[in-house]
Symmetry: C2
Subunit: 395 residues, 2 copies
């Protein structure tokens, strides 16, 4: 797809992210869905098709294995509802498939809703157990997410002169941003020393370099740009959607020359989305970015993969505070995954809700002033599945 | 979407269905995917986007939770691959989302592949355990799939003068058809007496009224009809795709007047697909149908829901052998789920592969002569999610 997309977001909704024992999966679907419907100024029965993103029913509350788990809480029947799952890119992929359906003319009003409830299970019966018992044999050898991204951190430090403090300062930045976001899971600022001295997970990454697992939901209502009614809607436009799957953590077996300094999936997804959106100079054309900072180092790597700086210069963005609120290209002003937490199926949609708030000038204390173009990014599975969405308040 | 779709299937592939201990999930993906690619006469790297349908990773072999499980076995990287799951309608939904992407212009060549591997686990550790422990509380009270569909069977017998023999004769018919299908799980004909005297599951349904759980995969390659090259391709066209979610087995709580004689989801999905395809008289316009005969009674109900006969007259189609090979509108000449088995994520795609074979005149011993229009149908979850696809060899 070479041309720009023709899709507008006319409503967004997001729940509080956190350890929400008092809210069921259905409660979260209902809250995010109704908020988005209200924001769009439409009735629920105007939605003609929906996409539900839940990545891990089997390590959450066993909900979200079909579209029924969107239909039932929203009383939204007699339409197609597809459940998609693509690890951390699930939410973006729900939006992507909804955009395709609108472009195809299958429907005129689409909903994309991401939700995940991960905290109701004990750690002994949750994601860690699942990973160890059921996933790739590497996990059983300790090659966890943290362990893998730690390899990238060490390579960045070795090759590019990145310091441990540079990496930790991403966590400091995002936790500061999180204090400004009433929906974030953790709203506590932290110091560089706190990040460095928190318990080690996989050298050099500590607990404070790692995002929490979280409950939450987010939703967007989408129409074709031609159907935007300027008297009723305050639209944000989708200019590009890229999703790409590459080899993952097992990549060295496919490519023994892999440098562990970048993610090919992110580069491909960005290339797709930028081509659709006509972005040729990301540094100048993008005003804010939500990046998949599941670990602090991933945000740093991604600066380079998204073209926000040249290879090897990500550290300069941190040192110059360019990606802090008030800087040239603020990144994760929501607080990122590090503060918001990571309800996996919801995260990609939450990011789009966040960027849309800035493009609509509704982001309150953390508003990126004058933002016209924003980008969201996810990377999931074993560093193999990435998504990039380009949003703008102009069309 | 009012207009007819503009999508062609140019390649199909299907594995043997059965208890395939000697084939891994990846083996099945590879076999079905490569067969479809060869049939389409294209190279693997011409595929620009793909959709993977696996319904039950957690009760199968824990594969199919993301698009990676299509990319890796096919070495098909650097493109978007979405995993969809929608219970028994998963395969049809993969095709639907691929069709949307083609219509949207996101890609020019799309793959939809369904796969499920259910037999590697013991019955004590498989679908039954999952259903009882983790799903709807009704299951815990014995309200299983068989138990529910048995209620419909009893209502059909009570209201419409359907006999137990009418229902069992669907199984006899489909098992006969299955003897003609080298890919079917069970290729053994059975007598009426054998169906009636096999062990009772839920009165009146016996084991022989029930489909087996099965391993298998199926794949289609799709392009826009404008891109069909008549010198290379032998296309089949998708004229309509409908998918709808209604309330399910809990429907009496929403509608105490529900008659347990039809599935609203099937009726809605058929209405969507027929409207797109311009089908106003299904009895005359449809030449063959693959129906979701997870239990024999479901095929009978679905005759009426698909408009193949008037309300209450389904029994006449069986008694007159109208839906048998050689009859007016053959149904499940593949052997249906009763003979082929039911690898859940694969079934909807397998049906499309089957109908395409007939429309291309390649169905061998079970060819429906002169078929130009065929329909596939799935119903899943608690009778709540249905899909209908209309295929034709004319455009």
């Amino acid at each position: 797809m070479k041309e720009r997309r023709n899709i507008a977001i006319i409503g967004t909704g997001v729940t509080k992210f956190g350890e929400l024992f008092e809210h069921s999966y259905d409660d979260l679907v209902r809250e995010a869905g109704l908020a988005a419907i209200r924001d769009a100024g439409i009735a629920m029965d105007e939605v003609q098709a929906a996409w539900l993103s839940t990545a891990f029913p089997e390590i959450g509350v066993f909900k979200g294995r079909s579209g029924m788990d969107l239909s039932e809480p929203l009383n939204l029947y007699d339409i197609p509802v597809t459940r998609v799952s693509n690890f951390c890119a699930s939410g973006a992929d729900a939006i992507r498939n909804a955009a395709n359906a609108l472009e195809a003319g299958e429907c005129d009003v689409a909903m994309a809703l991401g939700v995940e409830k991960l905290r109701d299970r004990s750690p002994q019966d949750s994601i860690v157990k699942m990973m160890v018992e059921l996933s790739h044999p590497y996990y059983q050898k300790g090659f966890t997410a943290a362990g893998t991204f730690a390899v990238y951190a060490n390579r960045m430090m070795h090759e590019y002169g990145v310091t441990r403090e540079d990496i930790a300062n991403i966590s400091v930045k995002n936790h500061y941003h999180g204090t400004l976001n009433e929906k974030a899971h953790h709203r506590v600022a932290c110091s560089l020393d706190q990040v460095l001295s928190s318990p080690m997970v996989a050298d050099p990454l500590t607990v404070m370099d790692s995002c929490p697992t979280t409950d939450g939901a987010a939703c967007v209502i989408m129409v074709r740009a031609d159907d935007v009614d300027p008297t009723r809607h305050d639209p944000v436009y989708i200019h590009g959607v890229g999703l790409s799957i590459s080899t993952g953590w097992d990549l060295p077996f496919f490519d023994p020359h892999h440098d562990f300094l970048s993610f090919k999936a992110t580069q491909n997804a960005a290339n797709m989305a930028y081509t659709q959106a006509g972005i040729t100079n990301p540094m100048d054309q993008i005003d804010l970015v939500e990046v998949h900072d599941c670990f602090s180092i991933v945000e740093m790597l991604t600066y380079e993969d998204l073209g926000l700086c040249k290879k090897g210069e990500a550290k300069e963005l941190i040192r110059g505070k360019a990606t802090m609120l008030g800087g040239e290209t603020p990144v994760n002003v929501s607080g990122g995954l590090l503060s918001c937490g990571h309800p996996v199926g919801a995260t990609g949609v939450r990011m789009v809700v966040e960027v849309a708030a800035h493009l609509r000038g509704r982001a309150g204390d953390r508003q990126v002033e004058g933002a016209t173009t924003g980008v969201t990014h996810n990377i999931g599975g074993p560093g193999a599945i990435a998504s990039v969405i380009v949003l703008s308040n102009e069309n």
